[in-house]
Amino acid sequence: MNKVIKTKNIVGFVLFLTLLCGYSFYNPQLTYGQSSLPPVSGQIRTGGGYMTTSGVQQSETQKNVQESTSFMVKTAAKIEDSGPVGSVLRSISGVPNPFTYDSPLTKDFFAKTDNVSGTEMEKISQIYQLTADAVPNYGAPGTNVADLTKLSTFEEVLSCGTGICRDQAGLLNDALKRNGINSRLVPGQVEKPGDHIWVRVKTSTGEEFDLDSTWYKDFIKLLPRKQNPVENKCSALSFTSIFDAIKKKLITFKFFGNGGYAEKSIKLEIDNKTNDFLKIKIPLGLILFNEDSSQQNLVVAKDGSACLSPGDPIIILDGYCANAHKDSPRSGTGLSIGAMAPQELLQVLKDNELNDTHDQRKVWNVTDKLNIDPLSNKIKIWWNDSLKKSSDILDAITGWIKMITIIFLIVEVISYLIYERFILKREKAVLTRIFILLKYLVGKIKQLFKKKNI
C-alpha cells in the first residue's frame, strides 16, 4: 500500500496556531532548559551540540524541512504577524497581541535591535544574535513543557528567555522588520517531529535565505527551504467528490469497519486509477451500510479529504454508528455506500464537534428516530433531503415524475396482459408472446457470447 500523502480534514485550533511550532530539535532531551553552550569560533551552536557550517547544511538536507503551501497554514502564520492582516485576525479572534512594545523587557530588547548598525547583512546578523541570546531556551514561557497551545506575548517570552519556535521566529521577524529588512514568517513541516516556523529574508540585493534561531543559536544563513512538492502539486488541484470519482471511474474502493463504534471507525481502501495525484473528498453525512445486517451502519462524521498518489492508499475516516440496537461494527466488515444523511442528522454532525465515544449518544438520539437502514433510507432520505431545501424542489419534482412514469409503465403492461387474457380471452397468445420474447432474448444472449468468444 502506498501511504496517504495528506489527510487534513480537520485542523483544530491547537493545530491552527500551534502548528506554527513543532518540537525543538532532533535532540529531544535538550528540548527544555538552558542552552548553555559557549560560542566557539567556526562552530554553530545548536540544540544538539556544535556543528560546522557544512554540518548544518547536511543536517538541513537530512531533516528535509519543507515550506507549506496550504492556504490554511499560511493564514495561521499571518495571525502572528505584526502587519495589519495579523492585527485584524487577532482582533476578531480574541488572540492576545504578542507585541508588548510598551512593557519594560520588550522595550529594552527592541531598543537594542533597533540600534544595530553596519551593512544590511551585518544588521541581520546582529539582530539574529540578539534574538537567539535573548531566548536561548525552548518551551512555553512559564511552564516546564513545550505547551504549544500557550499563546505568549513578547514580554512573557523575554522574561524567562524561553519560547517555542512561534515565539522565537516572531521576535526575530519583528526585529528585522523594524529595521526595514524584508522578512516574513514561513510555516512548514519537518518529517519528524512535525510542524515548524522560521523566518525568510530577502535582502535589498535580492538574496534570499532562511533564518532559524530556534534550531541554530549562532547566525547562519540557510538555503531557502523548499516548498513541499507533493503539497504544492496537490494545492493546485481541485477536490473531486468520491461520487464523481466513482462515476468517472477514477477510483475503485472498498469501505471497511475499522473496529469500534465511534471516531476512527471507518477504513477506506482506495485505488487511484489515474496516473496522477487525485484530490478526493468523502463528505460528512455519507451513510455506509454494513454488509452484516446484525451490525450497525455507520455515518461519516467529518469530511474526509486526501490527496492520493497513483496507487492504492488507505484512508481512515471518522464515523459514528447509526443503529443503537445492533452490534458494534467489527474491524474488516465490508460497508457499502448508502445515501446522504438527512438534514436532522447532518445538523447533529456539523454542530456538535463530535470528538469521542461519549458523543455517540448524540448521534444515536437522532438515528434511532430516523431508522437508518438500507431499505427505509433510500426513499426516506431522498425525500427529506430534497423537499426540505427549497433549492432542491425541482429535483424532488423530477423524482416524482420518474416514479409516476415507472408506475404508469408497469400498470400499462399489466393492463395489456389482462386485456389479452380476460377480454380477448387469448391466453395462449399471451403465453406464446412471452415465450417468443424469452426465446428472442436467449437467442440474443447466445449471439453475444458467440461474438465475444466467451
Binding site: V85, G94, V95, K378, D392
Partner: protein
C-alpha cells in the same frame, strides 16, 4: 405487423422500467452535499446558517473557523470580549474603524464596499476590502454586527484573490443571522 407491436411494446416497457429504476437508485444514493446547517451559539446567543460543505476547523479563543470545500478560503465566526454594556449599535462605527486602523494610509489597502445595514433591530456594517500582503493579493469581507449581550459579532471571510471561486453564499449566511 400487430404481432410485432405486441412483442416490441413489452420489451421497450421493460427496458424503460429497468433504466429508470437504476437511474433513480443512483440519484438516491449519490446525492451531493449541498444546503445549509444552523449553528446556535450558546456563548453569544445568536444563530446563523452556514454551508454544509464548509468544515469547522476548531476553536478560536472567541469563536471558530470554517474552511472552504477547496480549502482556499476561511470564514471566521467570532465575537468580541463582552463589556456588559447594553445591546445596541452606538459604537459600531468606532469598532470597525479600530479594526481597520492598522491599514490606514497603506497603499496596498483598498475598500471595495462599505455598507451600513441592520439585522433585525441591530445595526451592522458590511465591508469588503483588498490588500496585498507580501505580494499575495487578499480579499477580506468583514461583517460586524452591533453589540448584542455586550459583544460585537464578526463574520469574516478571508480569501486569496487567486481562489475567488471557493466562496460561500455570504448573503445567505448574513440573512440567516438571528438574535435570540
Amino acid at each position: 405487423m400487430k404481432r410485432i407491436i405486441y412483442i416490441v411494446i413489452p420489451i421497450i416497457a421493460t427496458i424503460l422500467i429497468g433504466v429508470l429504476i437504476i437511474f433513480n437508485m443512483n440519484q438516491g444514493s449519490l446525492q451531493k452535499t449541498s444546503g445549509f446547517v444552523t449553528h446556535n451559539d450558546t456563548e453569544t446567543g445568536i444563530s446563523f446558517d452556514y454551508p454544509v460543505g464548509w468544515n469547522r476547523v476548531g476553536q478560536l479563543p472567541n469563536g471558530f473557523m470554517l474552511n472552504s470545500p477547496e480549502e482556499k478560503s476561511i470564514l471566521f465566526i467570532s465575537y468580541s470580549d463582552s463589556d456588559n454594556s447594553e445591546t445596541g449599535g452606538a459604537d459600531l462605527i468606532q469598532k470597525v474603524d479600530s479594526l481597520l486602523n492598522p491599514f490606514q494610509n497603506n497603499p496596498d489597502f483598498q475598500i471595495i464596499n462599505d455598507v451600513s445595514t441592520k439585522i433585525g433591530n441591530i445595526d451592522a456594517r458590511d465591508i469588503t476590502f483588498s490588500y496585498v500582503d507580501n505580494g499575495e493579493p487578499l480579499k477580506v469581507r468583514l461583517f460586524v454586527t452591533g453589540k448584542y449581550n455586550g459583544r460585537f459579532n464578526y463574520f469574516t471571510l478571508y480569501s486569496s484573490e487567486a481562489f475567488e471561486k471557493d466562496l460561500p453564499d455570504f448573503e445567505k449566511i448574513v440573512k440567516s443571522i438571528k438574535f435570540k
